[in-house]
């Protein structure tokens, strides 16, 4: 049942496209797209641009994750830091991060640092907020038990607070990675001259639709692998707590 509906939709599309019921110029048959995908992934631009997007994603995520988790933890345990940072967090978090791109481009110039930092910013805020929520929503009884048994300072942090916040941190990292991918692909679509997002844009402009759909499918596949893969990893590594992330 799980694969029946997608398979039926693809077959219907194939038939409609082959018989000319829908314009094959705009909606090329799935087999044509698949063939293009396989062909260009090895020999052509698809593989290279996939690599470009993945590299940007890796840099953006690495740049965001470490400072975001540290800041989130610090905000969770030190009230003054939370008071200090919260207004900026509340101001920036609901803003579409893509709007930071033009600012970064005038400050850093049009290029990789601006693209990567825009992606990183969308992950950063999500991870800070999830980490902070993890510390704030931990069961206060755990803290008291820890204190009663003589844990305080660094010991309390390492043995009680951090393990309690870990599931939320992981959820934040997972959501952050997804957001970074979304933002990066949008940045590529808008401003960059390489990457999967740019491929979709270029092939749209040139109306080379099989390549456009192939790049589109690649983005979907990448997103699926990242979200599903991380979810599975989270379920495996943090078996003791249920994932509450949306």
């Amino acid at each position: 049942m799980g694969v029946a509906v997608p398979a039926a939709a693809l077959i219907l599309w194939e038939i409609c496209s082959r018989l000319g019921i829908v314009s094959s110029r705009y909606f090329p048959a799935p087999t044509t797209v698949a063939w293009t995908l396989g062909d260009r992934l090895v020999a052509g631009d698809l593989g290279g641009d996939l690599l470009v997007t993945l590299t940007r994603l890796a840099f953006a995520f690495a740049l965001a994750a470490v400072p975001a988790v540290l800041l989130g933890l610090l905000m969770g345990i030190a009230r003054p830091v939370r008071d200090l940072v919260e207004p900026y967090l509340a101001f920036i978090f609901p803003v579409p991060k893509i709007t930071l791109l033009p600012f970064l481009m005038i400050i850093l110039g049009v290029g990789e640092p601006a693209f990567v930092l825009t992606g990183a910013s969308s992950a950063f805020f999500q991870i800070v907020i999830s980490t902070l929520a993890g510390v704030q929503t931990m069961d206060p009884r755990l803290l008291e038990v820890g204190r009663n048994y003589g844990a305080h300072g660094p010991r309390l942090f390492w043995k009680v607070i951090l393990p309690a916040a870990l599931p939320a941190i992981f959820t934040g990292l997972r959501l952050g990675l997804g957001l970074a991918l979304v933002t990066l692909v949008a940045v590529e679509f808008i401003a960059a001259k390489s990457g999967l997002g740019h491929l979709v844009y270029r092939h749209w402009q040139m109306l080379s639709t099989p390549e456009m759909y192939a790049a589109f499918a690649l983005v979907g596949g990448l997103g699926l692998v990242l979200t599903r893969g991380l979810r599975a990893l989270q379920a495996r590594v943090l078996t003791w707590q249920e994932d509450i992330g949306v």
Binding site: T99, W204, F216
Partner: protein
């Protein structure tokens, strides 16, 4: 008066830090420590914001963006709640659509613009449909989850007392799923703003996203900051306003999607 004093004593850092930051920024930019070409003084930004507001440019663009958000959110909300409810109620439908949704959902909405522009007339309609894609999935997901998490015991009890069909749906299932539906709508509205602005940056000549992008292209840096401020204000209004509304309308349950 005493309450105000206590409130200030508790929140002075939160209130004070943005004020201090703005003053430092103003001073650093005026004295040349920060390059005014990149970081114009906040007071100049406010001047530009006022100019944009007075000559009506800002309101025109803001109204365009708001109308687009309204349309794409409505589209996403109606379809998302309807399909989400149907998926929550019928297992076969859920199992059939789940894999399709799983593949499409992580794709950034902006990428749907080419696809959508093949399907519907390009321009305004394509923009609105594109902007509703991500919100639709979010709302459909949370609604489905909302129906599925209803306590089996409650449904059994309702059946036992003779509630079936429409009654069961309207008196038990819908109220049970409502908190989740609301969470989905709140998240969906936030995403509608994000995607509308992103699509405006890509393809529109009007709207706040377009204003930001055009200001960048002609390097009107002050206008960029002013537009950014308005977009941020809109985002805050939508997300915190809706959270407050939920607390009022559905006070009996905590927000399922609270961060």
């Amino acid at each position: 008066m005493k309450a105000v004093g206590r409130w200030l004593a508790e929140h002075w850092i939160t209130i004070g830090s943005p004020i201090v930051l703005l003053y430092v920024w103003e001073w650093a930019s005026a004295s040349g420590l920060l390059r005014a070409a990149f970081f114009p003084r906040p007071s100049t930004i406010v001047d530009h914001l006022r100019d944009l507001a007075v000559d009506g440019t800002l309101w025109g663009h803001a109204a365009t963006t708001l109308v687009r958000i309204g349309w794409s959110f409505s589209l996403a909300a109606i379809l998302g709640v309807a399909i989400g409810l149907a998926m929550g109620l019928w297992r076969r439908l859920r199992e059939g659509l789940d894999p399709v949704f799983a593949v499409i959902y992580p794709i950034p909405s902006v990428l749907f613009l080419p696809l959508v522009s093949f399907l519907v007339p390009p321009g305004e309609i394509a923009l609105v449909v594109t902007a509703s894609v991500t919100s639709f999935f979010l709302i459909a997901f949370t609604t489905t989850h909302g129906v599925r998490q209803i306590d089996r015991l409650v449904v059994e009890a309702a059946r036992h007392y003779g509630a079936t069909g429409w009654r069961l749906f309207a008196a038990v299932l819908l109220p049970g799923a409502l908190p989740f539906i609301f969470t989905g709508l709140r998240l969906g509205l936030g995403f509608a703003l994000i995607v509308v602005v992103a699509v405006e940056i890509v393809s529109a000549s009007r709207g706040l996203g377009a204003l930001l992008w055009l200001s960048w292209q002609v390097l009107k840096v002050e206008d960029m900051y002013a537009t950014f401020f308005v977009i941020a204000l809109l985002g805050a209004l939508l997300s915190y306003g809706l959270a407050a509304l939920r607390a009022r309308l559905l006070p009996w349950v905590p927000d399922a999607g609270d961060r």
